[in-house]
Subunit: 242 residues, 2 copies
């Protein structure tokens, strides 16, 4: 595959063009997807009556579509059947970067900004598929063990979908970039790495004895990086759909 | 102190009112501040020509003022000397919550949404204080070891400030809330906890031998939770300013 072919990259426009530190930017679809898939939480920016809102929510991805569910955005979307402009961003903080000048302090991170037109998923079949997707994407195989959602629960949940029209990824993953003339300053410089890790599962006291932590949750083993577990689950989910 | 007195809570308006799961919401200043202080990274939503943007950036707090630096927001702010409406949000993901129905799956989290009017800090003295603050707030005592920023570096950095006019905090920190009639379903249910932890420091190869990891970075010891280290540093920073 040629990473520069149109289907493998997002078009670059004034909206998604990476302006600051553009050498850290990328418009490659796979680069954007893996940042999205490595996270459970995103932030969605939208506008109501000129006021911007930045709402944290859970997102999931099916190809070049992103989904999330009922949020304050519903106020905006209820009155905009044709959809509304939003920007959905995912960020991972990977390290604190300490330099020998204030100016060269930085952070290691991976972020993806996705632009599109958000719509309420009204079609029943599409909505049911999406509601199954939110569970299966994070916990492949899990829905087989659960009861189905009731009609009332489905009605109470608003699913929002957006095809990614434009996107960019931005990554910093390196040591400190001090100026050579600062190397003699007697201050420690380097990177303090950060990782989000999975802890020991806490079983609900309501669960009857004899029900163990199930095989389908094996990717979420204690001590593992969350981003790796989430990418593994997304891959398993995609393989299952094929 | 009475937590409900005006100075200890943010006013509740249609903008910051917590609409979904309002029992998880709070307008208490200290609740908002500790969520902000527990994070290195925030997301800022702003609007340019009707298009919302959601930009990840580093924020720091001085009382009820929030600061961040040069970002794509500069495009917006350059043309709006009187300031622009923004929403700055901080979120922490604390756990995955797995239920016996798709509907009752959830997440444990702490988030704070802050609304205000963002302005470029143009006053030289205020800007220099803010640029010192960004280092000292995260690494109290560090600037004494660094060279000063040059005039050119200062000029190249845009500092943005915003007084928090409205804010809300939202927290979920509990076990799964399954319906009682689902207790008999033979599926595991519970919480998979998540924490962001500090790794072993990686010294830059440019640092001369004999310069050790300094005492002022002691809060960032290997294996510790990042949120705890950041709150400790904010408290030390505030104590130092008194």
């Amino acid at each position: 595959m040629d990473a520069r072919s149109p289907q493998n990259t997002f078009p670059v426009t004034p909206t998604n063009k990476v302006k600051r530190m553009h050498e850290r930017g990328s418009y490659d679809r796979e680069a954007v997807y893996v940042i999205l898939d490595s996270a459970f939480l995103c932030h969605v920016a939208y506008v109501v009556d000129g006021q911007p809102y930045c709402t944290p929510t859970i997102h999931w991805r099916e190809g070049d579509w992103l989904y999330w569910h009922g949020s304050s955005a519903s106020r905006m979307l209820k009155n905009q059947k044709q959809g509304a402009n939003v920007c959905l961003t995912v960020s991972h903080l990977d390290g604190l970067v300490l330099a020998r000048s204030g100016f060269n302090h930085s952070a290691n991170y991976r972020s993806a900004m996705c632009f599109g037109t958000a719509k309420i998923i009204e079609d029943q079949e599409e909505k049911q598929r999406a509601l199954k997707g939110i569970i299966e994407r994070f916990y492949p195989g899990r829905t087989a063990e659960l009861r189905d959602n009731t009609a009332q629960e489905e009605k109470a949940t608003m699913v929002i979908g957006m095809q990614i029209e434009q996107a960019s990824a931005k990554i910093r993953a390196k040591q400190v970039g001090d100026d050579e003339e600062d190397f003699g300053i007697a201050a420690w410089a380097g990177v303090i790495p950060l990782t989000t890790v999975i802890g020991a599962p806490e079983t609900s006291p309501d669960v009857p004895a004899g029900i163990a932590f199930p095989a389908h949750l094996a990717p979420y083993r204690e001590g593992r990086r969350l981003d790796e577990a989430l990418v593994e689950c997304q891959n398993a989910y995609e393989a299952q759909a094929e």
